[in-house]
């Protein structure tokens, strides 16, 4: 039997403690952030109740006027916090982003995984990953200077032709700052994440399965559609959920092209919107000058709702995977 030196034993203990600490940190941080955000939002929850989720009026109140007390919480006169426009804005812009990004990302990933080799593949992969590394504010700047004017002058007027069929596409197009531009810029930002994850997944499809498909006379499309995509379905939905989470939480770029709507639910794809993350960033400075701090608590509640919404979408995605998982697995094996 090997004689273990005391130094090795100590090292092993250190290793155990270190890995234990590190491994528990995600849980600890998540719980700590959750608790802090919840405690911060308690006054706002008391002040607004369920109206926070259904109300459309967001008003910090008359900060240069008198204070008033409502539901046991003191606030500047006229303060009311209804987050519905921001919840709708967050969901609408991120869903538009997904509708555009998912097909683009999957097709790109298929090309990267199966169709290109050597330096071309290396360069393309690096470019996709670099796209993920562009700072959000750079996307935002580009959005303000290039994307929004383009939407206002060309893309928007083009889309209004669809307005005959789908009322949500009806004009006026306006400034280009709004739901459509937010969705487009978010799509650009989440394509790299979904692409990179999907590419890695597709590369794990055993070559035998694909060769088998080709051997049976299946076309490329049939191999991808009937063998590869079903094989990676679980992971794919995870990748989409990851992109969705990113799109909902994205702040700066959306803030710059959203038109920062307030008290307003989008009437069309060209309407200005605002997302929960953008409102938190936009209003925090004014909120901090609220002597009662209620405005900060309301923003904390907004953060809480955002966290819960991200969690729900994540679970929804997992549930979808779980529900469809069994059938797909057996299908592949057969």
């Amino acid at each position: 039997m090997r004689k273990v030196s005391s130094a090795s034993k100590t090292a092993d203990k250190v290793f155990r403690v270190a890995t234990g600490l590190c491994a528990s940190s995600p849980v600890l941080f998540l719980v700590a952030i959750g608790i802090v955000v919840f405690i911060e939002s308690v006054p706002s929850i008391k002040f607004m109740g369920w109206h926070f989720l259904t109300g459309t009026q967001w008003n910090l109140g008359d900060m240069y006027g008198n204070l008033e007390v409502k539901n046991g919480v003191s606030a500047p006169a006229g303060a009311t916090y209804g987050a519905l426009p921001y919840i709708v804005g967050t969901l609408a812009s991120s869903v538009i982003a997904l509708l555009i990004a998912v097909p683009v990302a999957i097709f790109t990933a298929i090309i990267l995984a199966y169709r290109v080799r050597g330096p071309v593949k290396t360069v393309l992969s690096i470019l996709v990953e670099l796209l993920a590394g562009i700072p959000s504010v750079v996307f935002g700047l580009w959005g303000v200077i290039v994307l929004a004017p383009w939407v206002a002058q060309f893309f928007g007027p083009l889309l209004t032709h669809l307005g005959v069929v789908i009322p949500f596409f009806r004009g006026p197009v306006g400034t280009g700052m709004g739901l459509l531009s937010s969705g487009l810029i978010l799509a650009l930002m989440i394509v790299p994440i979904i692409t990179a994850t999907t590419r890695d997944l597709l590369e794990q499809v055993p070559i035998l399965y694909r060769e088998g498909g080709i051997g049976l006379g299946m076309t490329n499309w049939e191999v991808v559609r009937k063998i590869c995509l079903p094989y990676v379905k679980d992971g794919l939905i995870g990748a989409v959920a990851l992109g969705w989470g990113r799109a909902m939480g994205e702040t700066m770029a959306v803030l710059m092209v959203s038109g920062s709507a307030i008290n307003y639910l989008p009437h069309s794809i060209f309407s200005p919107i605002s997302t929960m993350a953008a409102v938190i960033a936009d209003q925090l400075d004014s909120a901090l000058t609220d002597a009662t701090h209620l405005a900060v608590h309301a923003l904390a509640e907004l953060a809480l709702v955002l966290m819960l919404l991200t969690l729900i979408t994540n679970f929804l995605a997992r549930w979808l995977v779980h529900r469809g998982g069994q059938r797909v697995r057996s299908g592949v094996r057969a």
Partner: protein
């Protein structure tokens, strides 16, 4: 293969990071060297090295960044000043929190906030103004539309929807106004400019006063595509330039940049019913008209000042400072602020003119000085 890709991208990003860090340290070294050089040249003042941090108003930022910081190096080489353009709301909140020594703000602190933080001072450093700008192609660069606070309020509430509305036409006889919908631009961030603009609207329109009031962030009318938020003065100017038939409010220190992009600015209706432009004389007239009313804590609105020539949207640029400062910091802060309001120092025309600011009225300067003397006391 995948491994290779990962390695290459990791190396690339690491290289980028290193080059950025490299630049940073390089600049830092240079700054330190320059500092040492001036120290030896100055013959050694006895005060210790102090760094003053300023953040807040994007309207005040050009004065700090392009004028005062470099000028003050020769006044007191031991003091380093860092300035940041983050918005007036942030200026107030960071000064209250103690993160910065000087919070720059176009807005003074509210009563409620003052009673919660009684040691804070609102010290006017200069007089500033705000112009209402628009993008109307074909109007002619030299033509200034006449607009009133009442009409502006109705535009921002969506009650006036087109440029050729009879209410705008009535203020501008003989001007060919386009039959085009108006897009109003507002600030989306916590902004002193919003504070000033909404104060002017509240003073001019009773509906605005009862519904929307004034603040650095208000609950704006819900008029959809007709009212768009943009970040910072830079964002508003860009959005105005991008959007034909738009209107917005912009701080005076941005006037030259905005007119260079082809934007026009309005003559605004003042308290006496005259339409006036934000010229040096008109801003000064407004400040002088209100100078005697300035209380000892100097929290006062200069909006809609009386007098035939008074420009209506005029304000003090405030340094929000906590009077509780210790030792070296207190003396450095006092010295800098006194220099800043000195008509022969920071308030002299060579620093004020490039940003279209005006020095404090003669009767206000002693009040600012009295407040500065409270620091560290």
């Amino acid at each position: 293969m995948n491994q290779v890709v990962k390695w290459i991208s990791v190396t690339a990003s690491a290289a980028a990071l290193i080059s950025v860090v490299g630049c940073g340290t390089g600049a830092g070294n240079n700054a330190t060297n320059a500092n040492n050089a001036t120290n030896t040249a100055g013959g050694g003042t006895s005060s210790a090295q102090v760094t003053l941090n300023e953040t807040g108003s994007s309207l005040l930022y050009p004065l700090f960044n392009s004028q005062w910081i470099s000028a003050y190096k020769s006044v007191d080489p031991n003091v380093t000043i860092n300035a940041a353009s983050t918005g007036s709301g942030k200026g107030i909140s960071e000064a209250v929190a103690g993160t910065v020594q000087i919070g720059a703000s176009d807005a003074y602190m509210s009563n409620a906030l003052m009673s919660a933080n009684p040691s804070m001072l609102n010290i006017p450093l200069a007089v500033s103004a705000q112009q209402v700008m628009y993008n109307i192609p074909g109007l002619g660069a030299d033509k200034h539309l006449n607009l009133s606070g009442d009409v502006l309020a109705q535009i921002y509430m969506g009650e006036i929807k087109k440029w050729n509305d009879p209410k705008i036409a009535a203020l501008n006889p003989g001007v060919q106004l386009p039959n085009q919908p108006i897009t109003a631009i507002r600030r989306s961030d916590a902004s002193g400019d919003t504070f000033l603009f909404t104060q002017y609207l509240s003073d001019s329109n009773s509906e605005w006063k009862s519904k929307y009031k004034y603040s650095t962030q208000i609950s704006w009318p819900a008029i959809g595509n007709s009212l768009i938020g943009a970040t910072g003065n830079a964002g508003v100017v860009t959005e105005l330039a991008n959007t034909k038939y738009s209107i917005g409010y912009v701080g005076i220190s941005w006037l030259d940049k905005a007119t260079a992009k082809g934007l026009g600015y309005a003559a605004l209706k003042n308290h006496d019913g005259k339409f006036v432009l934000p010229t040096k004389e008109n801003i000064q007239a407004a400040a002088n008209a209100e100078a005697d009313k300035v209380p000892s804590d100097e929290r006062i609105s200069l909006i809609d000042a009386p007098g035939a020539n008074s420009y209506p949207i005029v304000n003090f640029e405030y340094a929000i400072v906590n009077s509780k400062q210790s030792g070296d910091m207190a003396s450095a802060l006092k010295k800098f602020l006194k220099w800043a309001i000195d008509p022969k120092g920071g308030n002299s025309a060579q620093y004020m003119d490039p940003v279209h600011f005006l020095p404090l009225p003669a009767s206000v300067e002693p009040k600012s000085e009295a407040q500065i003397n409270k620091i560290g006391g």
